[in-house]
């Protein structure tokens, strides 16, 4: 794939913006992710925000919850498109992995990100 994937973080309130700031602070990568909040949106308005954030480029949509308006709008938009994939349960670990693996196909990048995010969830002895 010639063009690196774009990551779009789709969240309630300011979670997406905060995750983007954290990724930039840790990696120095500023151009891989775009934040989208569902604040004040019905499904139509959120779809417009998402379309604008995706910008017609191949993308992975990182959604905060596995249900709700962020998910429904994202899945509707990605349905039937090979240049778009959706991951739910976004966390910082999956985004950190994603920004360094943007040369994959969207579906492969989504699977890889989901695995990286899952591996980060632990209950270490304290």
């Amino acid at each position: 794939m010639s063009e690196p994937l774009r990551g779009v973080i789709v969240s309630h309130a300011a979670v997406a913006q905060a995750l983007l700031a954290a990724v930039a602070a840790i990696t120095g990568v500023n151009d891989a992710l775009v934040p989208v909040s569902n604040d004040g949106c019905d499904t139509g308005a959120l779809a417009e925000r998402l379309t604008q954030a995706i910008g017609g480029k191949p993308a992975v949509l990182f959604v905060d919850l596995p249900g709700g308006s962020c998910l429904t709008s994202s899945v509707r938009l990605a349905r039937g498109k090979t240049d778009m994939a959706v991951v739910t349960g976004v966390n910082l670990a999956m985004l950190l992995d994603f920004v360094f693996h943007r040369d994959l196909l969207p579906a492969d990048a989504a699977r890889r990100a989901a695995e990286a995010g899952s591996r980060a969830i632990r209950t270490p002895a304290a």
Partner: protein
């Protein structure tokens, strides 16, 4: 029990409905009344994804909801009914005997609508519809989450 909440929310089933209201009300079933969603199994799966396993989801058309509302009201579990627009709930309401109160949970910006509250945008026609429902004896308030105070209709129309 009965239907504990009749909600108008253009996001239909989402976090505020399932978690915000569903948890404190101990909801056992959610009825989504929407003709378009009722006609699409794919859309239904999408909305079901956000609902925990212990809560049943019923997808109904407006006509089906009119027929089934008495059964849902007799259900021993706590129910929550949501529609995406005022028209649908007004059709169901008929009079205050069927729907005693309406919760406006989210109607967002569209052309022709003006902001009334942070999460309620209404056209003049929609505001008049809500006033007409109130005139039938139905209590109409806006309240996005249960921890927020309900806002009486007269305060935003």
């Amino acid at each position: 029990m009965s239907i504990a909440l009749y909600r108008i929310d253009d996001r239909l089933i989402h976090g505020q409905v399932v978690v915000g209201w569903g948890k404190p009300l101990n909801v056992g079933f959610i009825v989504l009344v929407d003709d378009a969603v009722r006609a699409s199994t794919w859309e239904q799966e999408l909305y079901r994804m956000g609902v925990p396993a212990g809560i049943d989801v019923v997808f109904a058309s407006t006509a089906e909801a009119l027929a089934c509302l008495p059964d849902w009201k007799r259900d021993p579990r706590v129910g929550l009914l949501v529609t995406g627009d005022i028209d649908t709930l007004a059709t169901l309401a008929g009079d205050s005997q069927r729907v005693p109160r309406i919760n406006l949970g989210g109607l967002h910006h569209r052309p022709g609508r003006a902001p009334r509250l942070r999460y309620v945008y209404l056209s003049d026609v929609e505001a008049a519809q809500l006033k007409a429902l109130a005139a039938r004896g139905i209590e109409v308030t806006a309240q996005d989450v249960p921890t927020a105070p309900p806002v009486p209709l007269e305060d935003f129309t």
